[in-house]
Subunit: 294 residues, 2 copies
DNA sequence: TAAACATCATGAGGTAAATTCATAATGTTT
DNA sequence: AAACATTATGAATTTACCTCATGATGTTTA
């Protein structure tokens, strides 16, 4: 291929002004440059593109063919360039969020609703990270932001703190364990534990609380939805471990009680991870800001 | 605008090979050239286009935007280039024919039917030259070939002889003038002359026969269609002057008689005029060949 | 019909841009 | 850590494009 967008622009200008000199003026080049350019096109295609002895300049069928191409292509190119400029200015973009923690959906959904109003041009999507590794996906460009609770050092990823949280045991308000101020691993040995349906390694209650103490609950039951887990707990089918932000409102209803896990509580920090190169874009920073305030 | 088709091709190759070096190989440039090229694009748009630390190379949303553009634009460009090459080779083209002489339609129609079978890729059209000047239209590129009976010297037009013809007086087989071997202008003074509905200057019978002798026919009647003129003549409503090729078959039916005009007959030559730059193209030459043989 | 004008074409020369070459830098795998 | 794979960089070179000056051609005008 030989044809360049520059050629299409020149041809269109010639066609529309009907005059080499005026077309040249419009393109901010000399008439000579245009003449040379057309000549090289005609030599390459071995076909004349316009009729010299007519006023205004007329195109040959071959020239008209290229004009047709120009009319198709130039608007596309211009549109894409404008989009890209907006991408650069952070006005246009994609925010595909991967969440590693199931419960994050509870605070993320309302945050995203507010975010969408501020940034209607940003294509927002959430992927709950069950079947894939979120951080590698971020590096590969499959997603644009990961909500994670364990930051790692990386040259190409940047982690921003969002807020700290505490995982609490939640149980019916009249549960015997409410008599204790803090829960020990052994306390759960006789309980039915309700969890999200993910691998045990990814559940802090196992990896950070029960497994180190070598305790296994009496039974484990799984549910996908946070609201269903809370219902099951309220109706006495078991206990669960959930982050405090989920429980704040649920506790106020009075039917559920919460207690910290272990002597110092099972605390953690949530982070937003993004690719370092994109960290400074306005629409990402704004999401992080909104997420912090929840 | 800055983006060129070359850039789109590079991006697509990078995207499809997932590797700068392989993309460079495919594009027949060095890996360094591609790296520089991408860098300049990224500087221009002030946005990264692909993620360096991923294998295979992945594009950023901005890069994907450009890939989308490339996928739209490159096939269009390639298609147009191929079409143009075919135009240059004369496989593809346009043959809009203007005819100055009304009667030419009679032989042109069957010629074009044959022509269309040989050149299905050529867009064929006929314009009967009543409301416009055919040769200027040819120069302006509005039409591609003109059938004309008077060639003129021109730097940008080329005339090719088609065949000679003779204009004959046609009348009913039992008309009194059939007693004469040749017709003189004065012979028509008492006749109703049937002509095509065009300006008298463009009718040879006036410009070359009656007007030089200062003769005016008893009446003039006009009809658009050759077949209607012949019917009118056959039913005794008048006489007409038509080229021999029209009359060859009509005469054989026996109801019409023809006679030459003037002492040496009113003879002429038909030409095909085309733009000099296009004269040598195969599809035009082939039309001329077919027209000569009729 | 020549002169003035308008317009496109051409060739030489300069400039900027794109490419190559050689090698550094970086990240990945063993 | 060493070997490897891959991209980035800087300098040199080549190429492509543009401008300038002017020629050529066709068209109006006096």
């Amino acid at each position: 291929m030989f044809l360049e967008i520059r050629h299409l622009r020149s041809l269109l200008a010639i066609r529309e002004t009907g005059n080499l000199a005026r077309a040249a003026e419009r393109l901010h080049v000399t008439q000579s440059a245009l003449s040379h350019q057309i000549k090289s096109l005609e030599q390459y295609f071995e076909a004349p593109l316009f009729l010299r002895n007519s006023k205004p300049l007329r195109l040959t069928p071959a020239g008209e063919k290229l004009i047709g191409l120009a009319r198709q292509v130039l608007p596309l190119v211009e549109g894409a360039e404008n989009d890209l400029r907006r991408v650069a200015r952070g006005e246009l973009g994609r925010l595909h969020i991967a969440i590693e923690c199931h419960a994050c959906f509870e605070w993320l959904a309302p945050v995203l609703n507010r975010y969408r109003q501020q940034w209607p041009q940003i294509e927002v999507d959430i992927r709950v990270g069950v079947s894939f590794e979120a951080l590698p996906a971020l590096q590969k460009g499959e997603v644009d932001l990961v909500i994670s609770s364990d930051p790692l050092k990386s040259t190409d990823l940047q982690f921003a703190e969002l807020f700290d949280y505490e995982a609490l045991l939640v149980m019916p308000a009249d549960h015997p364990l409410t008599r204790k101020k803090r829960i020990q691993p052994a306390d759960l040995a006789g309980e039915t534990l309700i969890t999200y349906p993910v691998n045990r390694q990814r559940l802090d209650v196992f990896s950070r609380f029960l497994q180190p103490a070598g305790v296994e609950p009496a039974a484990v039951r799984q549910s996908e939805l946070t609201s269903v887990i809370l219902l099951l707990v309220a109706s006495g089918r078991g206990v669960a471990v959930l982050p405090d932000w989920v429980l704040r409102e649920a506790e106020q209803a009075g039917t559920l009680a919460t207690r910290p896990l272990g002597p110092r509580g099972m605390k953690g920090m949530l982070y937003a991870a993004v690719r370092r190169a994109e960290f400074d874009t306005a629409y990402l920073q704004d999401f992080i800001e909104l997420a912090r305030r929840r």
